[in-house]
């Protein structure tokens, strides 16, 4: 039984349909990448998983249990944490306060606390009292990841970690990601950066206009297949 799975998941923004029946699964310890062009529905999918968008009943299951009706603040307590696109740190909170807020919805016991996060991202410890708005893009991304880790998630949903970051910073972020994986956390990774995504993923899904257009293990997917699935050509 998969840790988290969806069954023909749909999503709407008002009258506009963004997802047309996504079927998806991730097992414990796996890293799954979701790739696709802008507007394909990748972020929408993560938001649906995290409970920020209304889901039809019986469309999302965690440990076999239907969580479609649960609000976001209950889902994080079950161990599903979303690192949102664009970082979205709390502007009037400092770095440390941002991290501490992440612990509000703690899912039981686990390896992640303030010290563990500072060990993962040492630069944050130096800047613990800085207002979150005064950080660089890469540091903000670290805070965002750390904040979500503070809830000790079983599954970490990462939305566009590399967005707007310099390559050297992206490398650091992905190094940290490896650390997170090593502790047994499952990761769903939405990425525009194909190279990094495919390098770390055990499996990949490609979204195209709200539908899954391709799925498989990265080493099994050819460049041409990915291209076709990406752009729908």
């Amino acid at each position: 039984m998969a840790l988290l799975e969806t069954d023909v998941l749909t999503a709407f923004y008002g009258d506009f349909q963004a997802l047309f029946g996504i079927s998806f699964a991730i097992d414990a310890g796996e890293t799954v990448a979701i790739i696709g062009a802008n507007g394909a529905g990748k972020s929408t999918f993560l938001k649906s998983l995290a409970g920020l968008l209304p889901r039809p009943a019986a469309s999302v299951r965690l440990d076999g249990r239907d969580i479609g009706a649960l609000p976001a603040y209950d889902i994080v307590k079950l161990g599903v944490a979303l690192v949102p696109e664009g970082r979205r740190l709390f502007r009037s909170l400092s770095v440390e306060e941002n991290l501490l807020v992440g612990a509000y919805g703690r899912h039981g016991d686990g390896p992640w606390d303030l010290n563990a996060v500072y060990q993962l991202f040492p630069v944050l410890r130096e800047r613990r009292a800085t207002p979150s708005t005064a950080l660089s893009g890469g540091q903000q991304q670290m805070v965002a990841i750390g904040r979500s880790l503070m809830s000790n998630p079983r599954i970490l949903l990462c939305d566009e970690l590399s967005l707007g970051l310099a390559p050297i910073v992206i490398r650091d972020i992905y190094a940290a990601l490896a650390d997170i994986k090593a502790r047994g956390t499952s990761v769903v990774l939405v990425e525009q950066d194909l190279a990094h995504a495919m390098a770390v993923a055990d499996r990949a899904y490609c979204f195209q206009e709200g539908r899954v257009s391709l799925t498989g293990r990265p080493k099994d997917l050819t460049r041409d297949a990915i291209h076709a699935a990406y752009f729908g050509l």
Binding site: V76, K77, F90, S92, E97, L100, V101
Partner: protein, 288 residues
Amino acid sequence: MLGWVDTLLQGVLLGGLYSLYATGLSVIFGIMRLVNLAHGDLIVLAAFVMLALTAVGVPLWLAVVIVVPLMFAAGYALQSALLNRTLGRNILPPLLITFGLSIIVQNGLLESFSADTRRLDVGPVQSASLPLGGGIAIGLMPLICLGAAIAVIVLLNSVFYRTALGRAFRATSDDVEIAQLMGINNKTIYALTMGIALAVCAVAGYFLGARAGFDPSVGPARLLYAFEAVIIGGLGSLWGTLAGGIVVGVAQTVGAHINPEWQILSGHVAFLIVLVIRPRGLFPRAVD
């Protein structure tokens, strides 16, 4: 000269009262982006409930101790049962619901208590005064009121800035969607916020009743003073709200000093002036 110093002092003390009116409003708007049009009427309601309790023999201090948590519960219920159902971008539903509530409270009080002006009997401290030398004296009650305003702000700030719950409040105020991702139930936060606001209203009601007369119809004017204090002070800062209250208070006493009929008008004019030259207020913190 003496007259002006006295006027300024009275204005500052009056500002303490207005700050108490305004603090609840400031908190609600800061966290929920909501304006409660019944805010002033709820202050008056608290005063009347205290009055009613004293009328059946409850000592006033006990009445206050009872009414403050009672109003907290009422605020929690109001938000949970009514206002949480109208969350969203459209401001009209909450505006109209609180407007309807304002009318209900005003007229309910009118039916229950008649339109007579009442006062809370605080005993001899009512007319006690503190001489400051040079012929100037300030009332003890207004001074205590200012002290209470400051105490409330210190208390609220320590909750907001030193506790996990306070972090949750501030996170909700910053980005309610992401706050939910942190496990924060925004509906509960809103209900607690409204509870806090109404508890502060209860304290304000006590000082309203202690300092001056009140009747069922004085609510809307309190709302306007509170609103002006919040805007002048700048959104997002409780100390700013205190400053805003003092500005309104001083404007009113200065205006009254020139011509007693100009008291309220002066407050409004000061508000409009600040709005024109510093639209974000004197000490803005939050960026909307």
